[in-house]
């Protein structure tokens, strides 16, 4: 892992990045546009047990936002791991500029 990265490695790095982004954005669209809007009426027939929340309404006004937060932190974790794996992470002396 210590030899300098090549163009081929960078392409593989970028493809993995695109795959992560694709999967996470699919979840993003599913909870907001899907559960919160398109399927909201269908989900509203179900209630979150023990609460007054119709499920579609909950996704639109609460749930989607919680999922958004989780998605970003998952992305941060995946990318930091990927940066180290491909040896393109920032060294500590960098970034002082």
């Amino acid at each position: 892992m210590n030899q300098p990265a090549t163009g081929r490695d960078h392409l593989a790095y970028w493809r993995r990045n695109l795959r992560y982004v694709g999967i996470l954005l699919a979840i993003w669209a599913l909870v907001s546009y899907g559960a919160g809007i398109v399927f909201a009426d269908a989900l509203d027939t179900v209630r979150i047990p023990g609460t007054g929340f119709p499920l579609g309404f909950w996704f639109a006004q609460q749930g989607a936002i919680y999922v958004f937060v989780v998605l970003i932190f998952v992305y941060v974790f995946l990318m930091n791991r990927l940066d180290r794996e491909f040896d393109v992470d920032e060294r500590d002396e960098e970034g002082a500029a």
Partner: protein, 573 residues
């Protein structure tokens, strides 16, 4: 102490804090002025971003709008938070790696074109001025209602404060003031929300209280509100009236618009590293989500309290807050049937005999959050706190916008276009001057607001969605996209969006009904169509024009890798 004394004390203390921070964090270089020397801790940047983003509209208006729209209000909740996922995954890390000072900087460099840069500068200036006028108006309303000061004087005081820390400290001063402002505004929002939740449901967490049973009757709060709505002839609170397609379009336009707003994007230029930029967006959304998940709860508590307070009650016995807001013209009552009682009803209301009932009460949506503590009879200091919080929200956003305006003039136009040989000191001086001038124009717009502030907000998001977002995304994710494509895409996206909004909002407002809209998409949602057009035009035009020069392709390769600059590798394809 009275409400007025509490308000004056809390507002005074918060202002003293902002001034103190401004003196402590003066800017000494253009890098400190534009991007806080790129040395802001990601957590602090997250807080600053949250304050920067959450404006008078989020703090003062949003819960009120949701309280009147019910389910349809979800477009704002999802739209104004979902954009941060796009920022984190698609924009922030790459723009931080690029390492410029402004958004037009990126557009100009990536598309090797001064024309592209100037188009971007014009969009940035338009979007930011639109926004800042609304903030100054918010400042004026809080001052006039709570401190009983004339709106003009209120705006002047607000301008004075912003002038002081924006001109002195630039981005550095603004960042640390925004951290303080976030603390003030979130405290001011959560305290009444927790009080209300305790009062109505006995549960101290508003996000959970929203789904809980009401203490008085033991039924679930949302069921009770739906019942009240049905009785009074409104649509059920948890159902919407907008078409699904329109809800989709508006949500998408707000999400993409959020991710394309220059004052939000530049916040991620201020952290030391690419990985800081990523995590910093996460922190920003955590801090924003705290308020955004409480807002729908506040909306429901406020709606229930309001209906219980006014429905069929004698007008003569209304509490003090009612008369106070009546004098500002934001509540009005007309006794159509002459019975002296207030009938506050929806369009489908009928009485016991089946005859239609007329609505007699008009309430401005913007007052719900501000009036809430008084409607619920919370202690005086809570009322004062809400005023300080509203001011923090408006001032922090105004400052962020002023910086974009100042940088657009002194950096993008002066340094990059007219006078490339200007010295560092000269540019810093120009930046301070343009920040000062922008404050004055913003103040003028706050005192003499164009009658269409609410309309132009749709404009700001629509334009950000239809202009910046696609060209930045394509600039990072496509090496083939060239100058011709980017300029054509931006121009088509902006023209379409602007023409649609101008037609329905200004030229022919009478035609602004669902039957006349394209595919039933309202002017608020047209930004998502503008964005799609921008993407399509940019890609097609690029296919038929020469590929970008090797420097631009190397730039793309460089920003895709987090590690340091200058190590670009040639990759074929």
């Amino acid at each position: 102490m009275t409400v007025l004394q509490w308000t004056a004390t809390l507002v005074g203390l918060s202002f003293a804090l902002y001034i103190g921070i401004a003196i402590w964090s003066r800017a000494h270089s253009t890098s400190e002025f534009y991007v806080a020397g790129k040395g802001v801790h990601p957590l602090a940047n997250g807080m600053a971003t949250a304050a920067d983003w959450m404006s008078a509209a989020s703090f003062i208006s949003m819960a009120g709008i949701i309280s009147f729209l019910g389910y349809d209000g979800s477009v704002y909740l999802m739209g104004w938070t979902g954009g941060y996922v796009l920022l984190a995954l698609l924009l922030a890390p790459y723009l931080r790696k690029f390492g410029a000072f402004t958004v037009p900087d990126f557009v100009g460099e990536r598309y090797y074109s001064q024309t592209a840069r100037v188009v971007a500068v014009i969009c940035a200036i338009f979007v930011s001025f639109t926004y800042v006028a609304g903030q100054m108006r918010g400042v004026g309303i809080v001052f006039s209602r709570f401190l009983e000061i004339d709106i003009t004087l209120g705006v002047a005081i607000g301008m004075g404060i912003v002038f002081f820390y924006a001109v002195l400290g630039g981005m550095k001063g603004i960042t640390y003031t925004q951290v303080a402002q976030y603390c003030v505004l979130i405290f001011a929002y959560m305290v009444p929300a927790i009080f209300l939740s305790m009062l109505v449901t006995g549960i101290p967490i508003p996000q959970i209280g929203l789904g809980a049973a009401d203490q008085e009757t033991g039924t679930f709060l949302l069921d009770r509100l739906n019942g009240l709505h049905q009785e009074l002839g409104f649509t059920a609170y948890t159902d919407g009236t907008k078409s699904t397609l329109d809800v989709l379009a508006i949500t998408a336009a707000l999400m993409v618009g959020t991710a394309g707003l220059p004052h939000v994007i530049i916040r991620f230029y201020t952290v030391p590293k690419v990985r800081d930029a990523r995590i910093s967006v996460g922190w920003a959304l955590v801090f924003i989500a705290l308020l955004y998940t409480a807002a729908p709860a506040v909306a429901v508590f406020a709606r229930t309290n309001l209906l219980n307070t006014v429905t069929d009650q004698p007008y003569a016995e209304m509490p003090e807050w009612f008369t106070k807001w009546e004098t500002t013209g934001l509540i009005s009552y007309e006794d159509h049937n002459g019975d002296g009682l207030i009938q506050y009803v929806g369009p489908d209301a009928v009485d016991a005999a089946g005859a239609a009932v007329r609505n007699e009460l008009t309430i401005d949506r913007d007052i719900m959050v501000l009036a809430n503590p008084e409607i619920a009879r919370l202690p005086n200091w809570v009322v004062g706190l809400v005023a300080a919080g509203g001011l923090a929200a408006a001032l922090s956003t105004a400052a962020g916008l002023l910086l974009v305006l100042s940088a657009a003039i002194s950096h993008d136009l002066l340094k990059r276009n007219w006078r490339p040989d200007i010295s560092e000191r000269g540019e810093l001086l120009a930046a301070r001057f343009s920040a000062g001038a922008a404050v004055l124009v913003a103040g003028y717009l706050g005192i003499n607001p164009p009658g269409f502030v609410a309309e132009v907000v749709a404009f700001a998001f629509g334009l950000a969605a239809a202009s910046f977002f696609p060209v930045i995304i394509l600039g990072i994710f496509s090496k083939r996209l060239n100058r011709e494509g980017a300029i054509a895409g931006m121009l088509c996206g902006i023209t379409l969006t602007a023409a649609y909004i101008v037609y329905f909002k200004f030229v022919n407002p009478a035609a602004n009904v669902a039957e006349n809209w394209w595919f039933g998409i309202s002017p608020e949602g047209i930004g998502s169509i503008g964005m799609a057009v921008n993407f399509a035009v940019a890609i097609v035009v690029s296919r038929f024009t020469p590929a970008p020069p090797p420097e631009a392709q190397r730039l793309v390769e460089r920003i895709r890798l987090p590690r340091g600059a200058g190590e670009a590798h040639e990759i074929s394809g």
